[in-house]
């Protein structure tokens, strides 16, 4: 009996602390917040998505929210910093992020869902979100204006209507009453709209449905939970990790190359040198680029790769295999300037080379199975 009493006490404690935690969560400036990194131009990831969304919310950023800190975002940050009387650095540091968090709203779940579903969308404050979203997959198919999107009535407009403007603002008052009933129904079935705002009330949900942002769990202003409460924490982080990170709307590409150029080069490198050490693969990508520069070879990536008899992997069709991540990384390294081959234009495998002519070229070095030469 005593045992069950203490258990009940503990249970109550847990519920109360959970409640405090929930109210903390639902306060505007702590809803979803940046991690503590300084965000620099060129960065990618969730923090950049948030940065772009918040800047768009107050009208500084007009581009697409894609999670890549490109030039458009850079100018937006700088304009924002100068407008709000901060030092203009173009870096989203502690102060910039704090001011942004105070002056804007961010509905992480909504924004991430838009990107995951490939919708075209905008995130301007003061405008209902449902008219800012396009239909599923609209980002790839239509290159239309952002302003025109969302006029189409289908595509989950229904869900979004439950989201009043600016994400959380209007919903906050109604949140606490619901939560007060929580003790009686610790694991209730979810009201439908809750599933769209899991970050507001993680404790109401079964662990696998609840993806609260990991950084808040660790935030210092939170009351230190009892040992028991820590148990659900790691479980709750898991779905967050699998579900909401890795949302990516765009990629960085090196100046002058497209992702498809990189892909085709990666295929060539993979077909030619998949068994080779990594440097050997970078060297082969570098040879392709050296030929691009050279006056005696074609001037496009595809021209160089598909030049008849230039690459055995092209001749025997191995180029059409699915390249791995290593080949892609090797290509990126080469495009960024790495050249282990030492400006080579040719390479050959001495065990299988059929042309006598290739042996007459001045050799530079051997990497793995290949000899690189001028």
């Amino acid at each position: 009996m005593e045992n069950s009493m203490t258990k009940a006490n503990k249970y109550l404690c847990v519920i109360i602390s959970m409640f405090i935690y929930v109210t903390l969560l639902s306060m505007p400036h702590t809803t979803v917040a940046f991690s503590d990194q300084v965000i620099q131009r060129g960065a990618t990831g969730d923090d950049v998505i948030e940065l772009q969304a918040r800047l768009q919310y107050i009208g500084f950023y007009r581009g697409e929210i894609d999670g890549v800190f490109g030039w458009g975002t850079y100018w937006a940050v700088r304009n924002y910093q100068s407008e709000f009387g901060m030092e203009v650095t173009g870096l989203a540091g502690e102060k910039t992020k704090a001011v942004l968090e105070k002056s804007t709203q961010y509905d992480k779940e909504w924004v991430h869902r838009m990107i995951r579903e490939g919708r075209k969308f905008t995130y301007y404050g003061g405008t209902p979100l449902e008219i800012q979203q396009g239909p599923k997959g609209s980002r790839d198919t239509s290159q239309g204006q952002a302003a025109k999107q969302g006029k189409s009535p289908e595509a989950g407009g229904e869900q979004a209507q439950k989201q009043p403007q600016g994400g959380e603002t209007q919903r906050q008052p109604e949140q606490p009453p619901e939560q007060q009933q929580q003790p009686e129904q610790q694991q209730p079935e979810q009201p439908p709209e809750q599933q769209q705002q899991p970050q507001q009330s993680p404790e109401q949900q079964q662990p696998e449905q609840a993806p609260p942002p990991a950084e808040q769990q660790a935030s210092p202003e939170q009351p230190e939970p009892e040992p028991e409460e820590e148990i659900p924490v790691p479980e709750e982080e898991e779905p967050e990790a699998t579900d909401d990170t890795g949302v990516q709307g765009a990629l960085n590409v090196p100046e002058g190359f497209t992702e498809n150029d990189i892909r085709i080069m990666a295929q060539a490198v993979y077909g030619e040198a998949r068994g080779e050490p990594y440097v050997g693969q970078v060297a082969i990508a570098a040879v392709i680029l050296n030929r691009l520069q050279s006056p005696t070879f074609p001037n496009t990536v595809s021209g160089v790769i598909f030049e008849p008899r230039a690459f055995t992997a092209v001749a025997d069709g191995q180029i059409w295999m699915e390249p791995n991540e290593t080949a892609r990384k090797a290509v990126l390294d080469a495009i960024n300037g790495q050249d282990p081959s030492g400006n080579a234009l040719y390479y050959f495998n001495p065990d299988t080379a059929t042309s006598g002519w290739i042996w007459t070229r001045p050799q530079i070095k051997r990497i793995g199975k290949h000899i690189f030469c001028k």
Binding site: P298, P308, D339
Partner: protein, 450 residues
């Protein structure tokens, strides 16, 4: 009875195999003819383009009016590019035909430079006119030889597929009418008197030749190279490292080092020049985990790495994150002027924050003691040369190589037109727009339905 049934079955099988074999044969032939046709098309287009080139060069010689000369030279440039493209489609990759390709490139380069230049204020010099004449004659010779090969191909029904077979087989010497014809052309081009293209034409120096020219310091041996590497990478030891020397193909001599990275169980590979012991490039082959540190922290590490290795006055000009790697481009800084030709690239792994890649080709090829320069035009004056639609966001002074491969001091403006960002270099001497670049936006991930 049984016998006749068996005979019947065998007969049917035989006929079936025959039909199947015939179909296969037909299909194979169709594909061969298709491939052959592609080669033939490229070849005949090539001869056509060389014809055109010769005519157009002749026409430009006869021209007196300057207004017609520029378009004509532009046409020459276009034709050389088309001819180069045709050459790229012929199976000549393992055959020495490079002199002709280089020759085409030089004609293209020469005509382009003169087509874009203002011939009213700066007419062709006597020397350049002579060069044009020479080019006309030489292209005539190439044209004649190519026509010979072409008529041979047409009359004797020569096939490019046979050229391919000949090149692929190990038989030496190559004996094929087309191959021989092309070899004659290439030898001829090799024997052409060196055309003087005028002072402006930069020679085709490759990167490694520039490095060889610019290297300073005394020669080091293998042990010293290892010591340099140890200091460069801040390693405790270089046990188990292997050192090899570069071959004759590289203009400068270098040691290639492979040093075990004990912490990650992989190898760090790098090249160090023999002369002066300068690291050229470095790569760590290790796998990289998921991102743990921010791009900004990685930048601090990259900066510290450069400072530790005595790179003075380097400024970050571009940073990009590729998944779990941060790539940082630094340019040299000379009294607040960015020197773009003195650039190095540092790669940092975003899991542990260590430097996993370095390359300094441009730095080694170009870095030298420079004199400080003062811009003649002020920033305000230079801005007047900009497109009025451009909203200037950022300004630097910068030293770049312009199209004529000269180092020029420029005002570097970053600006926005609509939603696109541009980088514009205005010559700080005369206000010329030396370079205008549209800076890349991030590329969307194209989703395929999975």
């Amino acid at each position: 009875m049984v016998r006749s049934v068996i005979i019947g079955i065998l007969a049917v099988a035989l006929i079936g195999t025959g039909v199947w074999g015939y179909r296969e044969h037909q299909e194979k032939n169709a594909i061969l003819i298709n491939a052959e046709n592609n080669y033939q098309r490229a070849f005949h287009e090539l001869t056509y383009n060389i014809d055109l080139l010769h005519d157009e060069l002749g026409a430009s010689l006869a021209m007196n009016s300057k207004d017609r000369l520029s378009p004509s030279l532009a046409e020459v440039w276009r034709i050389t590019s088309a001819a180069q493209n045709d050459l790229g489609q012929l199976p000549l990759a393992l055959m020495p035909f490079s002199k002709t390709e280089e020759y085409l490139y030089k004609i293209g380069n020469f005509s382009y430079r003169n087509a874009i230049r203002d011939l009213d204020n700066d007419p062709l010099t006597e020397e350049e006119y002579d060069a044009l004449k020479q080019l006309y004659e030489q292209s005539g010779e190439i044209q004649a030889e190519l026509r010979k090969v072409q008529s041979m191909v047409l009359q004797d029904h020569l096939r490019w597929m046979d050229v391919e077979m000949t090149l692929a087989s190990e038989d030496e010497p190559l004996n094929n009418a087309i191959v021989n014809g092309f070899q004659i052309i290439d030898e001829k081009v090799g024997g052409f008197a060196e055309v003087s293209f005028g002072a402006e034409n930069a020679e085709l120096a490759t990167n490694d030749e520039q490095i060889a020219e610019n290297l300073k310091g005394k020669s080091i041996n293998e042990q010293e190279a290892l010591q340099k590497a140890k200091a460069f990478l801040d390693l405790k030891n270089t046990d188990g490292a292997t050192v090899t020397e570069s071959g004759e193909g590289l203009a400068y001599q270098a040691y290639s080092l492979s040093i075990p990275d004990e912490k990650h169980g992989t190898d760090i590979v790098m090249d160090i020049t023999k002369k002066g012991g300068h690291p050229v490039w470095m790569l760590n082959e290790r796998e990289i985990d998921v991102q743990k540190i921010s791009l900004n922290e990685a930048f601090e590490n990259a900066k510290a790495f450069l400072e530790r290795n005595n790179f003075e006055n380097m400024q970050l000009v571009d940073s990009k994150q590729y998944d779990n790697i941060g790539v940082f481009h630094f340019a040299g800084l000379l009294d607040n002027v960015r020197v773009y030709s003195d650039s190095v690239v540092v790669e940092v792994a975003l899991d542990q924050g260590d430097v996993i890649g370095y390359e300094g080709f441009a730095y080694l090829a170009n870095h030298e003691e420079r004199e400080q320069v003062k811009p003649k035009l002020s920033r305000k004056k230079a801005e007047e040369y900009l497109n009025p639609n451009l909203e200037v966001m950022e300004h630097h002074l910068a030293m770049i190589n312009n199209q004529l491969e000269e180092e020029v001091l420029c005002h570097e403006f970053y600006g926005v037109i609509n939603d696109d960002t541009f980088r514009i270099f205005i010559n700080a001497e005369n206000g010329a727009e030396e370079r205008v670049e549209k800076l890349a936006n991030a590329e969307p991930v194209y989703r395929n339905e999975e």
